[in-house]
């Protein structure tokens, strides 16, 4: 029983660490502020949720402590991290940061839309 719970905790920790590292690599490698935000806000959120879930299972199985603070942290990060990503992305567009020069579609650009129709 304890071996099975240990392997579940280890699996969750490895998944969370891989997602965090992939998010950081995407933030370094991607060409544009919007694609970087796509990598950072989604992959980091899921990785941290997996790591906090592993911590919760560790305290619940090994020590018989039900830590409701970890559940509250998981819910809070899952709700607020995509919202902050959306806000900073909208602020970047409104303050005039250019898209990548190979991107093909910009639905918010009013002048380009009027020229097209």
């Amino acid at each position: 029983m304890t071996e099975i719970s240990h392997s579940i905790i280890i699996l969750f920790i490895i998944i969370g660490a891989f997602l965090n590292l992939a998010a950081a690599y995407g933030v370094v490698r991607l060409p544009d502020v919007y694609t970087r935000n796509h990598a950072a806000s989604k992959a980091t959120t899921l990785g941290v949720v997996f790591l906090l879930l592993a911590t919760f299972l560790f305290f619940y199985i090994e020590m018989n402590l039900f830590q409701s603070r970890l559940i509250l942290t998981i819910v809070f990060i899952f709700l607020t991290s995509p919202v902050s990503g959306h806000l900073i992305n909208r602020a970047a567009y409104n303050s005039g940061v250019k898209l990548w020069d190979k991107s093909v579609r910009d639905d918010l650009d009013v002048t380009k839309k009027e020229a097209g129709t």
Binding site: A24, A54, M63
Partner: protein, 93 residues
């Protein structure tokens, strides 16, 4: 087994925070830096959770929630500053 995995994962998260610090230093615009700092704050939550596994104590679990709240408030404040120029505006219309 679990302790070794936790130490390796701490090293991995430290590497990802170093990559994000590269983006904070080099990033060509201000929203790049804000995104990278927000991701560093979220990684710090994971770091503290793993340290509390490693030390087998539950005394640091409040700090995870605190850092999550502070990262959210800081990012929202920077987004409003970049968009409007002020953070708390005084007009009444």
């Amino acid at each position: 087994m679990l302790e070794n995995i936790v130490v390796i994962t701490l090293f991995t998260i430290a590497c990802s925070m170093v990559l994000l610090i590269y983006r904070v230093i080099k990033g060509p615009s201000t929203p790049d830096r804000v995104i990278a700092l927000d991701a560093i704050g979220i990684n710090l939550v994971a770091f503290i959770a793993l340290i509390s596994i490693e030390l087998k104590t539950s005394a640091f679990l409040d700090i995870t929630l605190l850092i999550g709240i502070l990262a959210f408030i800081g990012t929202v404040t920077f987004a409003k500053y970049l968009e409007k120029g002020v953070i708390i505006d005084h007009d009444r219309d």
